[in-house]
């Protein structure tokens, strides 16, 4: 039974996501659209499962939700800060910096989300990963204290992602 389930739904979350995206795309929450969305959500992951051999395990959807809300808020706050920097700090006084963030996360999915979060929050861009994936290179637009930015990334985002992907 479990194997049949795994054969039919190799990626349950992807199935759910595809169904939701289909319903939003049609802009029509009716039974027909939901069923068709679920059919798509079964066919597409099944047909492409050769290219996704591993299913990420131990993913906590509820914590991911609160994490997304926090990131959205951070984007809002940081956008205002960056707008302020753009408008008021002259080029000669701008202090851009490279920051090396040592990574405790090992899962590729978790590192991808961390890098994406860093890039989306204005003022920081994740630029590169070291060759064995133990540190992340981050570029900061304007900072007086690069170490504080690194510590904030580690405590604010990485710790939470570690809980989500535990």
């Amino acid at each position: 039974m479990a194997r049949a389930f795994h054969w039919l739904l190799p990626h349950p979350y992807l199935t759910l996501l595809l169904a939701v995206v289909w319903v939003i795309l049609q802009n029509d929450v009716s039974a027909g659209m939901v069923v068709f969305g679920i059919i798509l959500g079964i066919i597409i992951p099944r047909g492409t499962s050769i290219w996704w051999p591993d299913t990420p395990k131990g993913f906590r959807l509820s914590k991911m939700f609160s994490y997304s809300i926090m990131v959205l808020w951070d984007i809002l706050v940081a956008n205002v800060q960056v707008a302020w920097i753009v408008l008021t700090v002259p080029n000669s006084k701008l202090k851009p910096a490279w920051i090396v963030v040592p990574l405790d996360l090992r899962k590729p999915e978790a590192i991808t989300i961390l890098a994406g979060t860093i890039t989306l929050t204005p003022g920081t861009v994740s630029a590169d990963l070291s060759d064995a994936g133990h540190s992340l290179l981050v570029h900061v637009l304007h900072t007086d204290d690069p170490d504080a930015v690194r510590d904030e990334i580690k405590t604010r985002y990485e710790l939470r992602l570690k809980e989500i992907f535990s």
């Binding site: 939003i24 090396v100 994406g116 204005p122």
Partner: protein, 127 residues
């Protein structure tokens, strides 16, 4: 005041905020003078600007009585793809040495962009 008037004001407010952030992004793009700092202004402020414009569009569609959720999808795709383009521009800047050389990583040998395999060493030396 009816809900319609409040909604119209909300739409106008969202459009103004969105347009404001977009113009700040453009100013940043023109003002800064090296690729890495330039990268910051449009990829970020743009996300917020477009987000507010899409929010205005959503409120407007609700006001018209036919709520549209397409904007949520646009926002989701934008938020997923924006870091990737920024990442690639950063990689090009590092690889082309058009920015300050980044400090070495803590544990590993080098950054993956700067690690060039034996077979590609010749191409790497080309101007």
């Amino acid at each position: 005041m009816t809900a319609e008037i409040v909604g119209t004001y909300l739409v106008a407010l969202c459009l103004l905020i969105g347009a404001g952030f977009v113009i700040v992004g453009v100013i940043g793009l023109l003002k800064f003078n090296d690729p890495m700092t330039r990268l910051h202004a449009p990829t970020k402020v743009g996300t917020m600007g477009i987000g507010m414009l899409l929010l205005a569009s959503m409120i407007h569609s609700v006001l018209l009585g036919e709520a549209s959720m397409h904007e949520l999808l646009i926002m989701a795709f934008l938020f997923v793809t924006a870091p990737i383009s920024a990442h690639f521009i950063a990689k090009v800047a590092i690889h082309g040495r058009t920015c300050e050389t980044p400090p070495p990583p803590l544990k590993d040998d080098t950054w993956s962009t700067l690690k060039v395999s034996e077979a590609d060493q010749e191409i790497e030396r080309l101007p």
